[in-house]
Symmetry: D2
Subunit: 431 residues, 4 copies
């Protein structure tokens, strides 16, 4: 996470300010529950609500001495609240605050990421419908295959990001749990009701079984979900980079009028945003293995996961947020060149229709071998000598026995390839 | 995947035999649908059902020539079926067969993994209830903290594996899709109905939008789910390795009477199974990043993912199957030493109860600072001079003002730590 | 490692046959050293040399009973050698045999990989010289930049693989150590001379300090070196895939006359080999993190690394061997289309020379801003209206003040871009 | 990289200040070389040396407009230098500055890391000699095996970190190259001499063949070397965590008198530093795969690697610097408990000597089977009934035929296990 690839809304989640704010809410809610149970005086939560406050600089000052962040926070809190503060945090362990806070931060981050996904999806959908019928060549192995439409391509990415969104919703559920269970998770010094109360108020679920810490398989699953989404970002970014190649030039990242790619070469509009997205994807993905290595904590807990999460928590969410926002904008403003698409499609003189011809010849009764030879003979002639493939077929006597010019027209009709676009759109967009 | 860490039921899924069997079913079902639509003669699927067969050796022979596995298969199939075979596979592309087959194999693999998870869960549950009340020391940072029970520990792992199971169910759904959509996924040469028909018969869903291939974010999510489960395997295995250390010796992997650890040293019962599980976890996890790197295929597809999947498909599923089966057996037969657990718990003369004393002193009205000093003063004396902590507290005049011997008995009562075990078990096991 | 991506010479290294052969050599050499020291009778190594033998099936039979591979081997060896066999392996631990054997296997594997690298280097060098002066457009961001030559491109890859080779030599040295140091590496039951003797005879160095096992940072460094080479394989393979795109078509993987890409479409020569290489690179790279996770063994050793190495040892070396051999062949037989390179270079009507014009205008005294405007004005006109850039510049009055037609010819001369090719070749090839 | 795990000396390398300082030096040196060649006026480098300066805030201001960091820098530089600045950077491309700067930063970082390694090595050596003869039990699989010394253990780590240091030296050489070769690396607009001159002055080597960018296999190898060192950090940290376990307590991280582990439990000295080091190792290692994924840039370059390096460059070096410094301090101040080591060694009543007894019985002529039975019979009795093993052997009639009490004393003498410590120390420390 570096400023260059960060957006303030997401970085704010990981600020000290937000963290202490969440801590205070957790402590206050826990005090409310304890007061309700009669474990601590009723006045305590009232006092904390009334006078509770914190000062980041002051906390850091105290922490420099005590070397303990939660104690520093509580000391500072007590400076505002006064005498009642001694009942705050009673029976709790630091991890109750830290892990529940992380859960809140990750759900907050997740909510932004879900909005980001929605923006990507909206852009993809808009552009998909806009180019539903914009024909272009489909490419397998980077080699021309058969026609598709640009809208179809985008619809495929829509479906992919939609799956990513669903995984994100599931990932959010994974990490949205609250633990207020004490030193080793046994509720030895406080009632499970406290956890239930705090969880409910924070929109979390009580962690069924914590061991001072919330189990880290949850976080591993969370970061893995981000890693898969990052891979989809790389997928779409790679597609655009390909389309923008000088020789292909079917689409381009938007260039503002004043923007310079290369000062002197107007064609030098580099797909720097999507290249950048490919790099960012690698960074988000880099969080996955460390998060998995964090799972095997020793016994009831060790603290090896903590430094990892202090870094990958912000890194992965901030970077993915930035990447998704950038991607949505790239898609939204992508400059599409239907003429170039058509030109590339026509580049090979109709050879992309050869499979269709082959099928039809077989259907019409020609032997598979015969059909294959006829199709290939003319394809080779067209390819090597840059002749029009349809004309060659029309002139081929053997072919003519099975296919009339009108048949050929039908076979070379792009409609053959686009007739199920609506079906696919309905599947993808449900409408 | 190597024989040493493989089980035949899972490896069979990845055998040529099973692969061709699935291919034949896909081709047959597709032919049925096409015949139903009238695209090909009604006799075709009938003939294929009646005479369809294949011979692995013969296919390999043909493939050696044609360098194309699906064509080799179809040629061999035709040798059994005869003339009608020419209508088989019409309008389809090899990937329609390959990707749908992979979906079937992965779901088959998933079903075994789900059974494996059930076995692990069953073993954990059985042993958890058996040791629900077997007290032992809880350890944070490898250092004695407060008491837990061995049953609680296992319940925590049950909850973790239960989450893993849920992720596996979701992962299964991710990859259970069928693509019969032709060269670039446009259904240019066949009707979407064929895909729907085949999908339904195979227990899959039609892929909403394929591009010759099923999009690889699905597979990335699948392998990521396996990676998280593998990390949980490492988690539990690490726990057992710790418990089996010579100095701890609270549990041991089962040793058959005849088995030799070290010939001459009877204490040399090495936790080799759980150490092995930690290694296997690394292998399963190694599939995650390549699977994510597979997502960004070029345009409608390239074939870079194929070699990766040919290896990680079997590797990850076979290894995880083996690991889970081994883990279930380790848990099921784990030799537990409650006496050693009690002995370790008592090792520090009751110091594990100091937080409870501290809390109670505060509750009884002693100042936090005073309580802390009293608790620590006696704790240090106990620790440095190996004295009984409870006795020291009883003899401390300041403490005595707040706590009577009966109070101390209550504070040193393990019941304090186990009173919520039932609550937690209910949360975890739902009963 | 699967047969499809394996070559017999490398897989043979990982066969039982080779493993037991190495074990026998280690045991025999160790016996020779011990006999020399007088620790065991002189007859022992003589007998083992004379009658020592093994039978893989028989060893497996014994292992099925004893569950211990080294004991099974020794038992079988004794069946051939007789009475003297009881002195074999004296004071040694199984790991002495296993780890030293792995060192031998990895150096054997490394030697093949070094040959593979030599083949790649030879192919690159040959083709680099062949196309030293074959001009083509250089591309940054996939967008035309300035001219390069295809030979230069290959020279760059030569330099990269040459670095990979050096790393491989260093990696070989890392893992070429021998440990015969007993149960915990203290030589408690045998003399360090035994290790020195065996090491020397096997072409290894004695491990300065083993702890039953050879430390695993060595292996981590080894697999990391393979991972970097695999990434270079991906790099070169990606380059070729790009050059083979339909729209670029500057080079193609060799297609044998009989080979079919797509049956009916002659242009459908898919870069399947290089796509495959990209996948194989991911697999080799997947060994890196597990190998690093293997480093942190517990105390003097645990056995978690073993299962990992049983898989990644063969997987990474066999796959990289296959990949390098395939790559050498792809480069060697690559079909290059200089005409297409020239055509693509000319595609933009000389715009690739604009930076040169800009520089010259400044050199000739035009202000930077003025020069920039002049260059850009004409570039835009050329780009948008497909006009010849050089002609536009010649007709531009402002430009004409500084540049004569002859100057323009010089600026548009490709020689400007190729004049240092020899220098670079000398740097790379040292000749 | 976050402040909590950063040290100012390393973070300063990655500051804007340092980056621009390096840029200015590169531009100045390049100008000197060009002036020497006569390409630009002699006054230019003189002016830049005399008046060259920059202002970070001002550069950022300009960059906000131009969106180009190098242009912003040059503009700001011109504000200080004046007219002569127009000749600066002539014929160069931004990457010439950026990549050469990165090389300088990485070598600077490497130099600090080498010092860090030296500190770790010094601490290990000091403590190794201090505890050369401090006996303790060696453990395989976490189970008591045979005696070692604590000094030996540390010597093993010394050797491991010494290898890491050598790899770091090699890694430094990998990335210490300079590229001043223009738009696509052909020196089309400047003489190779410029690169040679700048390289020599900066202590770098000219990159034999750059393509606008320095090839990224170099950086991949660099980060891989850091990843292996990080794994060694994890290795040593894991060892210490094990030794500090409550039940083992043979060593402890130093606790300052005022420091609180747990307020009330004096035994609760948690190995938080070494746990933290395990987490930091995961973070450093996380840079390895992205760095490898960076290698396969498209054609002469794309910019996907840039965002990755902007993050992993600082992250990996800063985190490893912090980790090594922390590790050196942990080792240096580690509190060692020889009494506890002795107590644990004695825990099993001499069973750790059983292999020695077995060997000696065989040496003395007892049959292998007989010796084995005798050793095991007494070992089982000792183990199950907590009897003294040596006494049992002495009382065993069959054993007594071969071993006299004096023989037993010798066999139970720890000297047997420590007699080669000097040899090993000499191997490791060379003295």
């Amino acid at each position: 996470m570096i400023p260059r690839y960060s957006r303030p809304r997401m970085t704010a989640i990981w600020d000290s300010e937000n963290r202490y704010k969440i801590w205070m809410e957790i402590e206050t809610l826990a005090a409310e529950a304890m007061a309700e149970l009669g474990t601590i005086p009723k006045e305590v939560p009232v006092a904390v609500r009334a006078r509770g406050n914190f000062d980041v600089a002051r906390i850091e000052e105290i922490e420099a001495e005590t070397k303990h962040d939660v104690i520093a926070f509580l000391t500072n809190l007590a400076e505002y609240v006064g005498e009642e503060a001694r009942f705050v945090h009673q029976g709790m362990t630091s991890s109750d605050v830290l892990d529940t806070c992380l859960a809140v931060q990750l759900t907050q981050a997740c909510d932004i990421l879900l909005e980001d996904m929605d923006a990507v999806l909206a852009a993809l959908k808009k552009r998909a419908y806009e180019h539903k019928d914009t024909v272009m060549v489909g490419r397998s192995h980077g080699i021309h295959a058969e026609p598709v439409t640009f809208g179809l391509k985008l619809a495929g990415f829509y479906a992919e990001f939609d799956r990513g969104r669903k995984r994100l919703v599931a990932a959010r559920e994974e990490i949205a749990t609250c633990a207020i269970s004490g030193a080793v998770g046994t509720f030895a010094h406080l009632d499970p009701y406290v956890e239930e109360y705090v969880a409910a108020k924070l929109g979390l679920k009580p962690e069924p079984m914590s061991t001072q810490v919330i189990p880290r398989d949850r976080h591993a699953a969370f970061f893995a979900a981000l890693g898969v989404i990052a891979s989809s970002v790389e997928h779409l970014a790679t597609e655009i980079r390909h389309l923008q190649r000088t020789e292909v030039r079917e689409a381009e990242e938007y260039f503002s009028p004043g923007q310079k790619g290369s000062s002197a070469m107007p064609h030098k509009r580099n797909p720097v945003l999507t290249e950048n997205l490919c790099g960012l994807a690698r960074i988000v993905r880099a969080a996955v293995v460390p998060a998995m290595e964090n799972v095997a904590l020793w016994h009831e807990r060790d603290i090896s996961h903590s430094s990892v999460e202090r870094m990958i928590g912000p890194d992965a969410t901030v970077t993915l947020d930035f990447a998704l926002a950038r991607l949505a904008s790239v898609v939204d403003k992508l400059v599409v060149y239907p003429d170039r698409m058509q030109a590339n499609l026509d580049m090979l003189g109709g050879l992309v229709h050869s499979q269709q011809v082959l099928l039809e010849l077989t259907q019409k009764g020609m032997s598979r071998e015969g059909a294959y030879k006829a199709v290939q003979r003319n394809a080779m002639d067209s390819w090597l000598n840059s002749k029009n493939y349809k004309a060659l077929l029309a002139a081929d006597e053997e072919v003519a026995q099975f296919l009339k010019p009108a048949d050929l027209d039908k076979l070379f009709d792009l409609g053959q390839h686009t007739r199920h676009v609506d079906t696919i759109f309905k599947r993808v967009f449900g409408e």
